[in-house]
């Protein structure tokens, strides 16, 4: 003791650090755990980023995706650690005050905290990187599976990843150190001793103002939802910003005003007869709602974003095969090129690849849709008129509508409007007579590959012949043909694709074939879903942990109340009922609102997809809810321990 008072030497300071760390393990483990977790996740991501197998595979778009995700991850890790540190410091403020009370100067206390922080940081880096090395293999396997890479893989120890992780976390530790210094120098002794008693006291809200702002919150969210379904026009990106701003502001008002106003109403109607359950849920919630509004808003918005991101990329992945299918009915095709067609048939015969070949004629004419089908100005566009009989002969399963009417196929552009069009509609050929053809069916898929950018109008063979006779002389009309191929055996697809992709073969549009398009989109979407899933997991773990940490602190603060209640004769079970009700609110509310937000976000985004995204969206939401619930159970478990230990 005397050594302490007569000025602290470096050695005694170090002693003090070690001693205080050993005594406070309980307080430390939370912060330490948060540190380790952040290091592990960041290190895994960095390892994958530098993995040779991935570097080899990744094109430029993959590389940028990884980099963007890495920056995002850096921010999340930083915010998470800083947040955990602030909770940690708050819990220890009494201890920090005590050091000052026994005569340590603020400088010495700050030095003590910094030494501690460095020790914790080094420990977290070592453990985090070690654990990261073990689990990165699992993540790499998962990624490879998602992008359809099948050969043997091996995680190599990446020095670059280690260095990057260390650099990033030294930055984050510097941030927490600044936080600690500010905490020590800014706070008075008194506020340090009282900080665990802090927490606001619910005031009677000003009825008029609160009701107005509460309503405004709901209106803002409602408007955001309503507007999100009407974003498809020239100002699309501006509209997205409007929706984001209104929904975020609305959510904040909801937590800050609307809910406390509602709770206040409920409580004042009880006239003091609150009951045990409400005393343990309603009352403490109101007590802390003001301070929690920020974090609840952030958690809700993050949840909504994560869910939308994950569901969106999962839907893309889920749709990959279908997307390619509907855009490419042929494995590959040539347009107006008999020489190359014959050459490739020769090559395939030579290799023994079985195929079906069909030649399809098309009458290409300039057309316009009748007014009102497309939003805005109607525009002129070449459309290929095709006979269903010829398509059938080429192996495409299609029957044209009867009575001279047609079915229209364009998987790439019309899909956005297909749902909203009332059939039949008329398409007008730009000849002198303005011949019109009635469209009675919207085809879900193309009948020829998308590389020829024509609208595709399928009619019966008779109608085709008569239109051809009538229009082939008009200005701008062309007779074209394609040679479409189906590869009969799946095992030959890769070889056939390689043959087709030789530089000597060309197309007038993009030179694409089914097999390589499919592979490429599986790779792109697989990487995207991996990154989205990884970031989603990090978001989820951080937000869940933050709620958990906050509730742990609350449980500590309310320990005395539980002791009192136990003494008054309430059983642990009865107390837990009230606490569970509070947790349902604390975890359920941001989750429910986040889910609702994401439902509207996905609805707004669903025009990207041809098929229903209900399945992947539901699955993503289910998993998210499940992990979130796990955090809620962890929290309840912690409360149960606290309550049982209270008496």
């Amino acid at each position: 003791m005397s050594r302490l008072c007569s000025g602290v030497t470096a050695l005694t300071l170090f002693d003090l650090v070690i001693r205080s760390m050993r005594k406070n393990i309980k307080h430390y483990y939370l912060y330490f755990f948060a540190l380790i977790l952040s290091v592990v996740l960041y290190f895994v991501f960095a390892t994958l980023q530098y993995d040779s197998a991935i570097l080899e595979l990744s094109g430029t778009n993959m590389g940028t995706a990884f980099q963007a995700a890495g920056i995002l991850l850096l921010f999340i890790a930083g915010i998470f650690v800083v947040y955990a540190n602030s909770i940690f410091l708050k819990r220890r403020s009494r201890e920090i005050g005590l050091y000052q009370l026994i005569g340590l100067t603020k400088r010495v206390v700050a030095r003590l905290l910094i030494v501690e922080n460095i020790l914790l940081g080094i420990g977290a880096l070592i453990i985090g990187i070690a654990v990261g090395l073990l689990v990165s293999r699992v993540f790499l396997l998962l990624l490879m599976k998602l992008i359809g890479y099948e050969s043997f893989i091996e995680v190599s120890f990446s020095v670059a990843a280690v260095v990057q992780t260390i650099v990033v976390f030294i930055g984050i530790f510097a941030l927490t150190t600044v936080q600690m210094i500010v905490m020590v120098f800014r706070n008075t002794l008194l506020s340090l001793f009282n900080s665990d008693k802090a927490g606001e006291h619910p005031k009677k809200p000003k009825t008029g103002v609160s009701a107005a702002f509460g309503l405004l919150g709901l209106l803002l969210i409602g408007f955001g939802y309503w507007f999100s379904g009407r974003m498809l026009n020239e100002l699309f990106f501006f509209n997205i910003l409007i929706v984001l701003a209104t929904v975020i502001a609305g959510t904040y008002l909801l937590f800050r005003v609307t809910i406390s106003w509602l709770l206040f109403k409920v409580r004042s109607r009880k006239e003091g007869h609150l009951g045990l359950l409400n005393s343990l849920s309603l009352a403490p919630l109101m007590h802390r709602l003001k301070g929690n509004a920020n974090s609840l808003t952030v958690i809700t918005i993050l949840s909504a974003m994560t869910l939308t991101m994950v569901a969106f990329s999962y839907a893309m992945y889920y749709e990959t095969e279908r997307e390619t299918d509907i855009r490419m009915p042929f494995d590959f095709m040539f347009d107006n090129n008999e020489a190359q067609t014959n050459e490739i048939m020769g090559e395939m015969d030579q290799k023994g690849i079985g195929y079906q070949h069909g030649k399809v004629d098309m009458l290409v004419v300039p057309t316009m849709f009748e007014q009102g089908v497309f939003p805005g100005e109607s525009f002129e566009r070449p459309t290929a008129i095709i006979s269903d009989k010829q398509l059938q002969a080429a192996g495409i399963d299609i029957v044209a509508p009867k009575d001279g009417s047609a079915s229209y196929h364009d998987a790439s552009s019309l899909s956005m409007f297909a749902d909203s069009v009332d059939l039949p509609i008329k398409i007008e050929i730009q000849d002198e007579d303005r011949t019109t053809v009635e469209i009675t069916e919207m085809g879900e898929r193309n009948v020829i590959n998308w590389s020829l950018f024509y609208g595709q109008l399928v009619v019966s063979d008779e109608t085709y012949q008569s239109l051809k006779n009538k229009l082939s002389g008009m200005e701008g009309a062309k007779i074209e043909y394609i040679d479409g191929f189906h590869i009969l055996e799946e095992k030959d697809q890769k070889t056939a694709s390689a043959i087709f992709q030789q530089p000597k073969y060309t197309s007038s549009g993009p030179h694409v074939d089914y097999y390589s398009s499919y592979e490429e989109s599986v790779q792109d979407n697989g990487l995207m879903i991996f990154i989205a899933g990884f970031l989603g997991l990090v978001f989820l773990i951080s937000t869940g942990s933050i709620l958990y940490f906050k509730q742990m602190t609350e449980a500590e603060q309310e320990k005395k109340s539980y002791a009192t209640l136990r003494q008054l004769g309430f059983t642990g079970k009865e107390i837990m009922k009230g606490i569970i009700r509070k947790q349902v609110f604390v975890f359920g509310l941001p989750l429910a609102i986040g889910l609702l937000h994401s439902v509207f976000a996905m609805k707004a985004a669903s025009f990207f997809f041809q098929s229903d995204i209900l399945m992947p969206a539901t699955l993503a939401m289910g998993v998210y809810t499940l992990i979130y619930t796990a955090f809620a159970f962890l929290t309840i478990g912690y409360y149960r321990k606290t309550v049982n230990a209270a008496l």
């Binding site: 006239e271 045990l276 005393s279 009352a283 209640l565 003494q567 004769g569």
Partner: protein
């Protein structure tokens, strides 16, 4: 050990019912090898309407006795009957229900819930009971007017004084019409004026509502409000004093005298 018997039994109280009957209550702490016996065989009867003070030097076992009698802690040995129920054999869950229905508590540091208003705090013990809202409201009004805190109903604990907090705590202890109220140093954190005012009210409630109260205190002035004072020393009952028809001043003097004999060895040296 010298036992100073100083019992003057008021015969008019004999007809009353026994609320608490404790026999040979022992309590030890610690595990094998290092057992410390704190209560060494206590026999105690409390009758309906009594206001019993428990005094004694630090370490005499006052609070331990209160905790054991109040079912917060378990006795190592002995039987305790409260209103005829043997609490030493009850299971935990049943004990909780018993505390809620039959007992009231007043603590030194009030133990009010910060998040609840005065009224909500007071009504808490009957929140799981079957009392109707109207009935509960009437009960609240009557108790809060006796304790003079009706005006404070909608205030939060941080907005009121220590004395007012302790009155709230007392009202909470009384709301369920308990067979017995246990108070652990209720005036310990109060200034002398609030303390006497609270004790006056407790004595008043004790008389008017015939509530049985047991209070642990180290303050002779506080115990002078009691109808009987029990002195503990080293885990035994050392002596008892009855107030009878004496004035409070005279009773206070008597208590001081006993304490002077008692406290010589341990209290002053501390």
């Amino acid at each position: 050990m010298t036992m100073l018997k100083n019992t003057k039994i008021d015969t008019t109280q004999k007809a009353k019912q026994t609320v608490l009957h404790a026999q040979n209550v022992r309590k030890s702490f610690g595990s094998r090898g290092n057992v410390q016996q704190v209560l060494k065989g206590i026999d105690l009867h409390v009758e309906e309407g009594e206001f019993v003070g428990i005094m004694g030097p630090s370490g005499a076992g006052k609070t331990t006795l209160l905790n054991v009698l109040a079912t917060i802690d378990r006795a190592t040995e002995g039987t305790i009957l409260i209103s005829g129920s043997d609490i030493s054999r009850m299971k935990d869950a049943k004990l909780s229900a018993f505390r809620r229905d039959q007992l009231g508590f007043i603590f030194q540091d009030y133990n009010l819930l910060d998040t609840l208003t005065v009224k909500e705090n007071i009504l808490l013990p009957i929140s799981l009971g079957k009392m109707k809202k109207k009935e509960a409201e009437a009960e609240f009004q009557s108790i809060s007017s006796i304790l003079g805190i009706t005006e404070l109903a909608d205030k939060y604990p941080h907005e009121i004084s220590g004395g007012q907090k302790q009155r709230t705590s007392a009202a909470r202890a009384l709301i369920n019409k308990p067979s017995m109220v246990f108070a652990d140093e209720p005036t310990g954190a109060l200034d002398s004026k609030s303390a006497s005012s609270l004790l006056g009210t407790l004595a008043d409630v004790n008389q008017k509502r015939e509530v049985t109260i047991m209070m642990v205190t180290h303050d002779p002035l506080a115990s002078s409000y009691c109808s009987r004072v029990v002195f503990l020393k080293d885990g035994h009952i050392y002596s008892e004093l009855y107030k009878g028809s004496k004035s409070r001043q005279a009773f206070f003097q008597e208590i001081m005298n006993v304490q002077a004999v008692l406290g010589g060895d341990s209290v002053d040296t501390l």
